[in-house]
């Protein structure tokens, strides 16, 4: 599926209606005005991959039928968020004239038992969201183009909401004053565990 198809289909599903248009506008404008450094584009590629992983996991989790109604509702919301994030970070690349990775470009794999029960779904979701939060916090520090930082930070805040909910239902609620950022290398290595 091309990115355009994904966007089109997502829009038909209603999720894209919530896309932060002003934020996307910032991305596109910035990318069009100045060539982005390779390092920023590398971050964008990495974040696109994390969002594809998130969307893939949540879709599989919902398809497994193991989530009860309350968790399933949250998983659907989280999945919709990840799709919106995918569009936003994908815009960094498309604004630079590049093609963001599409779902068929990366084969994801999951540890045995990931989809076996509601508890395992929530456990893996928490692990995944923690990586995504770390990735965005790291990107806020690592991205050089200042105009990209606000939206990356906002997406990081969204991932933090997911982490907080999942930690709560896992009985792990603990508030962190300064959640840890991850370096691009740490995030890449973490993603390696879930890609073919």
């Amino acid at each position: 599926m091309t990115r355009a198809q994904l966007l089109s289909r997502t829009a038909r599903g209603g999720a894209a209606a919530l896309v932060a248009g002003s934020a996307l506008g910032q991305f596109v404008g910035t990318a069009a005005a100045d060539p982005l450094p390779d390092g920023d584009l590398a971050y964008a590629r990495l974040l696109v991959a994390t969002e594809l992983l998130g969307a893939d996991f949540y879709a599989r989790a919902l398809a497994s039928g193991k989530a009860g109604p309350r968790l399933a509702k949250r998983l659907r919301l989280a999945r919709a968020n990840e799709l919106e994030h995918y569009q936003s970070v994908g815009q960094i690349l498309s604004g630079a004239g590049l093609v963001p990775a599409a779902p068929e470009d990366i084969d994801f794999g999951y540890p045995r038992g990931t989809f076996a029960s509601e508890g395992s779904l929530a456990g893996f979701a928490l692990e995944l969201e923690t990586i995504m939060l770390g990735a965005y916090l790291g990107a806020v520090e690592g991205i050089q183009t200042n105009a990209l930082k606000p939206v990356v930070a906002r997406i990081g805040a969204s991932e933090a909401q997911h982490v907080a909910y999942l930690a709560t239902i896992r009985g792990l609620a603990s508030f962190q004053a300064f959640p840890n950022p991850m370096t691009i290398q740490q995030v890449s290595n973490a993603l390696d565990a879930y890609t073919a």
């Binding site: 390779d38 971050y43 470009d105 290398q185 993603l191």
Partner: protein, 261 residues
């Protein structure tokens, strides 16, 4: 046509190390002469032993074919070279037939302690790559750029080779700390190198294409070989050697993202 061909040869010569490749033997009865990317060295003879093969960097082979070397089929580790030859009328319409991925290999002893692509940026690490004109060399540059590592790793490049198998053998012999090769090449020397993943998010799209040479005197047999590679048996042979199937239309991935699967 002649002008376009002359221009193409000139372009190819700019990056082509002449001397690699070169048909080594005559084909057996019913066979054809195949000029193929070095990464196909093991699978093609297993699939069609009746053919004569010349393996090397796809760019060097393309140059030789453009200059009139007696090839019947050209199989390249990218789609660009066959498409260029097609545009110049040198080959018939190319067809994609398989895919591959890029990996990093390090000597089994791993003296530089390399565990990820990022480690190649450390000072003093000796990295071997293929020349930029060779498809695997171009893919390597693409990976480095996509990971934002070009500036950090290029100073560590100690040599640029004529084809992927040369990179592999140099690393296996410990003449470099690491090198970029195709996943299929890495598995041919399992006891000598350790494979390190290139992250999926930075993988280039490595697609192979092949075409019948327009001036082939064995056109029917050449077309039969192309059909054989594309056949179920041919694709199964490629998969046995670690090559990847061509991408299918992606209803599953689409459905997954839509949550309808």
């Amino acid at each position: 046509m002649r002008t376009r061909l002359t221009a193409l040869v000139a372009v190819l010569l700019l990056g082509a190390p002449i001397g690699s490749g070169g048909a080594s033997a005559r084909p057996a009865a019913g066979g054809v002469t195949v000029f193929a990317a070095a990464s196909l060295t093991d699978v093609f003879p297993a699939l069609a032993p009746e053919n004569a093969y010349s393996f090397g960097g796809s760019n060097a082979l393309a140059t030789q074919i453009a200059q009139g070397a007696p090839a019947d089929v050209f199989a390249s580790a990218n789609t660009a070279l066959p498409n260029q030859l097609y545009a110049a009328g040198v080959v018939e319409k190319p067809v994609a037939f398989t895919r591959n991925t890029l990996v990093v290999v390090v000597p089994k002893s791993n003296p530089a302690g390399i565990h990820s692509v990022y480690d190649l940026a450390r000072e003093g690490v000796a990295v071997d790559v293929a020349a930029p004109a060779v498809p695997v060399g171009a893919y390597t540059l693409q990976v480095l750029k996509q990971m934002g590592l070009t500036q950090k790793i290029e100073p560590n490049v100690v040599s640029q080779e004529v084809d992927v198998r040369t990179v592999l053998s140099k690393v296996a012999l410990g003449q470099a700390d690491a090198g970029f090769v195709y996943a299929t090449d890495a598995r041919t020397v399992p006891g000598q190198v350790t494979v390190i993943k290139v992250p999926a998010w930075a993988q280039p799209k490595v697609t192979y294409a092949m075409a019948v040479v327009s001036k082939s005197p064995n056109r029917a047999a050449a077309q039969a070989f192309v059909r054989k590679v594309l056949s179920k048996a041919g694709q199964a042979a490629l998969r046995r050697y670690g090559f990847l199937p061509l991408p299918k239309p992606a209803p599953t991935a689409t459905a997954m993202l839509r949550g309808t699967a």
